[in-house]
């Protein structure tokens, strides 16, 4: 082995093990700076010995053992009077320590404590006595095992600057006598969020490099992910930690698609989703699931991860559930009321309910001091203005954004958009009216936006403006010779279409041309043939997709008819399709009434169903109830895991005593049989009296489906979820307000109550 090889192996091993080694040493010697020095001594020893003796069998353990030996030597030399330290030095020194054979044993003996040490070290590295920069540098150095020059390169600062930051940080920790511990009590949450902040900062510096020529520095992203996963392993009960990991995994899954062939950034809705990494998406979803299992209120990282998951779950940009994303942002700004979060919410609102809804909110942010100098504010505003055809204003905003960003590839994109706006504005000037009509139309827009979800609304606009655009060459075409392809080309070349609209229209018309032939005379294209193409191409697509293509065709038909090239009713055979949100239909009151009266329903099922109906609570909450959690006179029961009370009414109250029947503890709803020995549930899910387990969701669902098969037109029966929502629908019909329903049912967001009550759209509320 050459010394170069040994060097590389030692570097790799150090990166993998440094957190554990340094953490263990800090616990021994009580000082971060000293611990790191001792650890570095061990690395030096490795570089001396490994080229000749070869890399040891377990190089990580070797480093750890040597470092600990140095620490013991040091403690002896210091001859500390501190009893605790002395005792520890004695313990370690008296361990049998001849050579490397028992190194594994030493390490294994210490292993149980090591995880906690790493966690302590993370909390110390992110301690609030340090500046943010120092926290980042120290964390990367101690937990990530990065060398000073690597950190310097990643953050584009000089090596000496990083070295100084680290030296000062270590001194500050020593001066402040920061204890080597995991904080507890009220301190813990704040300190944990500092750790999360540092990790996310590292990730973001890699993900959206604030300076330099490249858009991303992937090594920093991966480093942050590693840190996040280490933390998640050490704090499995913290939902926010899993939320952060999920957020980073999901964002990282898009990394390959975020830059184009020449390194330019590609925005989310234009990314090739085939290049998203499904392995990372899967891991992101898994982490999000762990976050949900950890419970507690939804924190900022979990919410942001949920938003990222919405994107990851959409196979095409059109399928993105923007209203859901807007609702998540609304929840986010409640827990994280930052202007940046508001700005993102504005973008989501614009996508869900039209550019005007977004612009209204953005305009409230322009005076925000925190956003002064933030390039995305003018960038977003420019985009919304362009979509409203206010090209002159849009250009100014894009230019401002370009002057504010420090990233050169981002700047290029912004300047390109500014140039496009200038062209659009120029054209609009020539034809006179476009900009004006754009403004005039804006006012009416929000009214229809809620219904049509953003895109389709542009139909009306385009048809209106179309007549005014007089393209060269158009007049030269004799009616009889107009082909479908030619007309489509002219239609798409109109100057008054925004880039988004044009892309959307082009999809429709390209498909039409492919089916009917580009050279087909437009005269011969009938509504019947168009309908055939639509049925073949989008017959099975979602309603929103169908409607978008229908809108495009209607716009084209109107435009062509004005020129006398085609019959005006080209789109006549195409009906607008409903765009249902996945909504649960309710079960008739009368059907439920008769269900309650059916004599063949056992007591347990009858009680459960009535309880679910009367409380409108999720079935898993009801199933999680224990006998000891019930407050029978108060007609309520506590869902311990959620800290939420379920409230029922008289029908349930009449049945519950029969169901409880002398039991004092254990699950309220029990399975029919005792569990088999191979599938023994935890003690909390067993009845101490009968030994039976808790009724499972699957079984409860099956029983309800079987009993309601006749209610369901498809014969498969109703879900428990539908039962709950039936109650909400009925209460909504009875005039209950949204807050009343939310407090009853535990729905976290008004959004999910849509359909039960009338809720003001966000567009109304921000205005």
């Amino acid at each position: 082995m050459t010394s170069l090889d040994a060097h590389r192996v030692a570097d790799a091993v150090w990166k993998m093990e440094s957190a554990r080694i340094v953490a263990g040493l800090v616990r021994m010697v009580g000082d971060v700076g000293l611990a790191e020095e001792l650890a570095q001594d061990a690395v030096l020893a490795a570089l001396e010995q490994w080229p000749e003796a070869g890399v040891p069998d377990n190089p990580g353990a070797w480093l750890m053992a040597v470092a600990k030996r140095r620490a013991v030597d040091h403690l002896r030399r210091e001859e500390r009077r501190d009893r605790g330290q002395e005792q520890l030095a004695h313990d370690l020194a008296s361990r049998p320590d001849d050579g490397e054979r028992d190194v594994d044993d030493v390490v294994n003996a210490l292993d149980g404590e090591v995880g906690d040490d790493v966690l302590r070290l993370m909390f110390v590295s992110c301690h609030p006595v340090l500046s943010t920069e120092a926290r980042v540098a120290l964390t990367l150095r101690l937990i990530g095992g990065l060398r000073t020059d690597e950190i310097a390169r990643a953050f584009l600062v000089s090596e000496s600057a990083v070295a100084q930051r680290i030296v000062r940080a270590k001194r500050a920790l020593a001066d402040a006598h920061v204890p080597f511990e995991v904080p507890s009590g009220p301190d813990r949450a704040a300190r944990l969020s500092s750790v999360l902040e540092v990790i996310y900062l590292v990730f973001n510096e890699g993900y959206a490099a604030t300076a330099g020529d490249e858009l991303m520095r992937p090594s920093l992203c991966l480093e942050a992910l590693r840190l996040g996963r280490v933390l998640a392993e050490l704090t499995p009960d913290e939902a926010e930690v899993h939320g952060l990991v999920a957020l980073m995994e999901l964002q990282q899954s898009r990394s390959a698609a975020r830059t184009g062939p020449s390194g330019e950034p590609v925005v989310l809705h234009e990314q090739n989703r085939g290049r998203w990494d499904p392995l990372l998406i899967r891991r992101g979803f898994a982490a999000l699931l762990r976050a949900r299992q950890a419970g507690g209120p939804l924190g900022p990282y979990v919410l942001q991860a949920a938003i990222a998951a919405c994107h990851a779950g959409a196979a095409t940009p059109e399928e993105t559930d923007w209203p859901q994303i807007a609702a998540l942002y609304e929840a986010l700004v409640r827990v994280l009321p930052t202007p940046v979060a508001q700005l993102n919410r504005a973008v989501a609102l614009a996508m869900a309910y039209g550019p005007r809804a977004g612009l209204t909110l953005v305009d409230t942010l322009t005076g925000e001091p925190a956003l002064k100098g933030y390039h995305l504010l003018p960038a977003v505003r420019g985009d919304l203005l362009a979509r409203l055809h206010r090209h002159d204003e849009a250009r100014t905003e894009f230019e401002r954004a370009a002057s504010l960003t420090r990233n050169s590839s981002e700047r290029a994109v912004l300047l390109r958009r500014a140039a496009t706006c200038a062209e659009e504005a120029g054209k609009a000037g020539e034809t006179g009216k476009a900009a004006e009509t754009g403004k005039a139309r804006g006012a009416g827009e929000t009214g229809e936006a809620g219904e049509t979800r953003g895109k389709a609304k542009e139909t009306g606009e385009a048809a209106e403006a179309g007549g005014k655009a007089a393209e060269a060459g158009e007049a030269g075409l004799a009616d009889a010779h107009v082909t479908l392809g030619g007309a489509a080309g002219l239609f798409l070349a109109r100057p008054d279409l925004s880039a988004d609209t044009m892309r959307s229209y082009r999809q429709t018309l390209t498909r039409l041309c492919r089916h009917l032939g580009e050279n087909a005379p437009l005269r011969d294209v009938t509504s019947h043939r168009v309908a055939e193409v639509f049925a073949a191409a989008w017959g099975t697509a979602a309603g929103a997709t169908w409607n978008r293509h229908r809108a495009a065709l209607r716009s084209f038909a109107t435009w062509a008819a004005e020129r006398g090239w085609a019959a005006a009713d080209l789109a006549a055979s195409l009906d607008r399709r409903p765009e249902p949100r996945a909504r649960t239909r309710s079960i008739d009151r009368s059907r439920l009434e008769s269900l309650w009266k059916r004599p063949d329903i056992p007591l347990r099922e009858r009680t459960l169903w009535l309880l679910l109906y009367e409380s409108a609570a999720p079935a898993e909450w009801a199933l999680s109830l224990n006998v000891e959690d019930l407050d029978l006179p108060g007609m309520r029961g506590e869902v311990k895991a959620r800290g939420h009370w379920l409230r029922w009414q008289s029908d349930t109250a009449a049945l519950l005593p029969l169901l409880v029947e002398g039991r004092r503890r254990g699950p309220l709803f029990l399975a029919d049989r005792r569990p088999g020995p191979g599938r023994m549930p935890v003690a909390a899910d067993l009845c101490p009296d009968t030994g039976r387990g808790r009724l499972s969701y699957e079984r409860a669902e099956y029983l309800f489906k079987r009993a309601t098969a006749d209610v369901d037109p498809e014969g498969s029966g109703c879900t428990l979820h539908r039962l709950r929502h039936s109650r909400l629908a009925h209460l909504g019909e009875d005039g209950w307000s949204a807050p009343m329903l939310m407090s009853l049912s535990g729905h976290g967001s008004v959004r999910t109550l849509h359909g039960f009550v009338r809720i003001p759209r966000p567009a109304d509320t921000v205005a």
Partner: protein
Amino acid sequence: MRFLMTTKGGSRTPDAAMMAEMGAFIEEMTRTGVLLATGGLEPGGLRMISSGGEITVTDGPFTEAKEAIVSFALIEARSREEAVELARGFWKIVGDGEGSVQRVFGPEDAPGPGPR
């Protein structure tokens, strides 16, 4: 960077203790985010040959059993050395055998001035 670890057949059949140890190892690697995907492969499989636009699918012949790849693991590591260290942990559990570690090229390795 990503690496594909593959192992060849012919090593000893795993016993219960080794399976348990391997299970723990895989779980640990998955949790720390190192292991992206792993699995065992059926011996042989189908052989496909595309030649002159014609695709033939046959049941063989295959390389000798001890040359055939029987398992794989896709891992994420910061360097080749780190990948080797991770693979070392695997071989310590498996014992005797043979395999390879190959870099998996990603979008960042595309030629030209693309993203790095």
